[in-house]
């Protein structure tokens, strides 16, 4: 059976070629000028470019606000859904995760059109609301998952030891559900900070996010600068993913 380990070889080669090498290329291009010489110029350009810096800051701000709103709205929902006393229908959770399966662009367009029809001015407000729309299911699902699987005897033990329901919630259930929240943060924060297209739809091209700047640079053949900006984003993503404890996988399959 041990010879079976060689079966991973084709995929290993594939991974090196299509995952490792492309990431290395981002780094290589980021530190090169158009002629292929080594340079820090791309980064210097980024730090001097107030527009880019402002967009970068705005992207972070929007991502943080969106994530916070998703936790605020999503945690209670996940808690109610996981609580058998409050919710008996297993179909409700399916209704909540279903939007995850529908093309994000379509959902976003629909949302923008709805705002439009309701006569709401497209801008930063609609951007955040629209993002919450798009990403709320990604916050609810992992939290629901961990709350649903949580051993009820923890809460019972805490109550038995004299904790009030409120204390049980804050001192036992919330800390125990943190891995779910972190996983939700990963699933909401990372796509929001890197999004493009969605922000344009939701603000009628008024507000650009960092992702859009990367896309514009790549599309206008400014590969080296685009790669440098991508590297900046990778660093942000890397910092965020440090939050996650690799050993605890909470996001499960939906099918």
């Amino acid at each position: 059976m041990s010879k079976r380990s060689t079966w991973a070889l084709p995929y290993a080669i594939f991974l090196v070629l299509f995952v490792a090498l492309p990431l290395i290329l981002i780094m290589v291009y980021a530190f090169q000028d158009g002629a292929g010489n080594f340079t820090f110029g791309n980064f210097a350009k980024f730090f001097r470019d107030t527009d880019a810096i402002n967009t970068f800051a705005l992207s972070l701000e929007v991502a943080i606000e969106n994530t916070a709103l998703c936790i605020l709205l999503g945690y209670p929902a996940a808690w109610i859904l996981a609580n058998k006393k409050l919710n008996k229908s297993a179909v409700t959770i399916v209704l909540f995760i279903m939007p995850m399966w529908i093309n994000a662009l379509m959902r976003t367009l629909a949302t923008a059109e709805l705002f439009h029809m309701l006569g709401i001015q497209l801008g930063k407000g609609t951007l955040i609301v629209g993002m919450v729309y798009d990403y709320l299911p990604f916050m609810i699902y992992p939290i629901y998952n961990i709350l649903d699987r949580m051993d009820k005897s923890y809460a019972e033990a805490a109550a038995d030891l004299g904790a009030t329901p409120w204390q049980v919630f804050w001192k036992v259930q919330v800390p125990l559900s943190m891995p779910g929240v972190i996983s939700g943060v990963m699933m909401v924060f990372m796509p929001t900070v890197s999004t493009f297209a969605i922000s344009e739809f939701l603000t009628n091209n008024k507000i650009k996010l960092f992702g859009t700047i990367i896309q514009e640079n790549i599309n206008s053949s400014m590969w080296n600068y685009g790669a440098a900006l991508s590297l900046v984003m990778l660093v942000i993503i890397g910092i965020t993913s440090l939050l996650q404890d690799n050993k605890k996988e909470v996001s499960g399959g939906i099918v």
Binding site: S5, W7, Y11, P22, A110, H116, I237
Partner: protein, 267 residues
């Protein structure tokens, strides 16, 4: 009382969440070019969608075709590649296993835009002209990890004696693989395939960066271009409605079956 408020909150969230989709669905039954302008009930948009007689740009049908074909190829290839890889990874030990698991996780952790940009740079670097093939390769890249992660747990949960039992009963390693191992991995392969297929259908960013300049469009890129030109092609409304209802039915049946199965398991 507590329960009442809880239920209210849940339903309120759902109503708000679904409002845009319902809105699109309602206006798919009218002819008006502008959303939100009700010009009377009509199924003309559905007729147009199915006859391919589009208002505005006529390449929506091609875009849909491309989307489905790319998703099918990507899902099939990733299911095979991922299953074979999962069997290999399951039998690996130590550092090599850690390394390949880490690499396997990267496409899932990476934001789409990074995957897109990095693959774009790869194709530029290798001087591969971008088009259909590069899009398919890119889709395989981000789909296969999901297949690996669907199949791997079935291998680890499997009683290792089962494979040995087949050998013990006279099966050669190949027969044991075909008659015992693969049938047991089938549920994982199927859910991996479905995941891969939907991931590919949904994708926008990676396709956007790897499709090149030959004018290849999938549904996502079509919508993007279309929306930027100003206004959604009206035929997209029935399109979205049909996709939504399809996914709704699919997910509800799958989950109901799962709930029923888990109930019978407990008996």
């Amino acid at each position: 009382m507590k329960k009442f408020f809880a239920q209210c909150y849940i339903w309120l969230l759902l109503i708000v969440l679904y409002a845009p989709i319902v809105f699109i669905a309602v206006f798919s039954f009218t002819e008006s070019k502008v959303l939100g302008n009700w010009t009377g009930f009509s199924t003309k948009l559905y007729e147009n969608l199915f006859t391919g007689n589009m208002q505005g740009t006529g390449s929506l049908m091609t875009a849909i075709q491309n989307t489905v074909i790319i998703a099918l190829i990507a899902a099939c290839v990733s299911t095979i590649l991922g299953t074979v890889a999962a069997i290999g990874i399951h039998n690996m030990r130590g550092k090599a296993k850690q390394a390949i698991s880490l690499l396997n996780n990267i496409p899932m952790l990476n934001p789409d835009i990074i995957t897109g940009v990095s693959l774009f740079l790869l194709f530029v670097f290798l001087h591969i002209s971008q088009g259909y093939v590069t899009v398919v390769l890119a889709h395989i890249t981000f789909c296969t990890p999901y297949v690996v992660l669907s199949v791997l747990p079935r291998l680890t949960q499997m009683n290792p004696n089962i494979y040995e039992a087949a050998l013990d009963l006279g099966a050669t390693p190949f027969v044991a693989l075909r008659k015992v191992l693969l049938p047991m991995l089938k549920p994982g392969m199927i859910s991996g395939f479905i995941l891969a297929f939907t991931m590919s259908l949904d994708d926008f960013a990676v396709t956007f960066f790897t499709r090149g300049t030959i004018g290849l469009d999938t549904l996502s890129t079509y919508i993007y271009t279309d929306a930027r030109k100003g206004g959604l092609t009206p035929e997209l409304r029935p399109m979205i409605t049909i996709m939504f209802v399809g996914i709704l039915i699919l997910l509800i049946t799958i989950n109901l079956r799962k709930i029923r199965n888990s109930k019978t398991d407990r008996e």
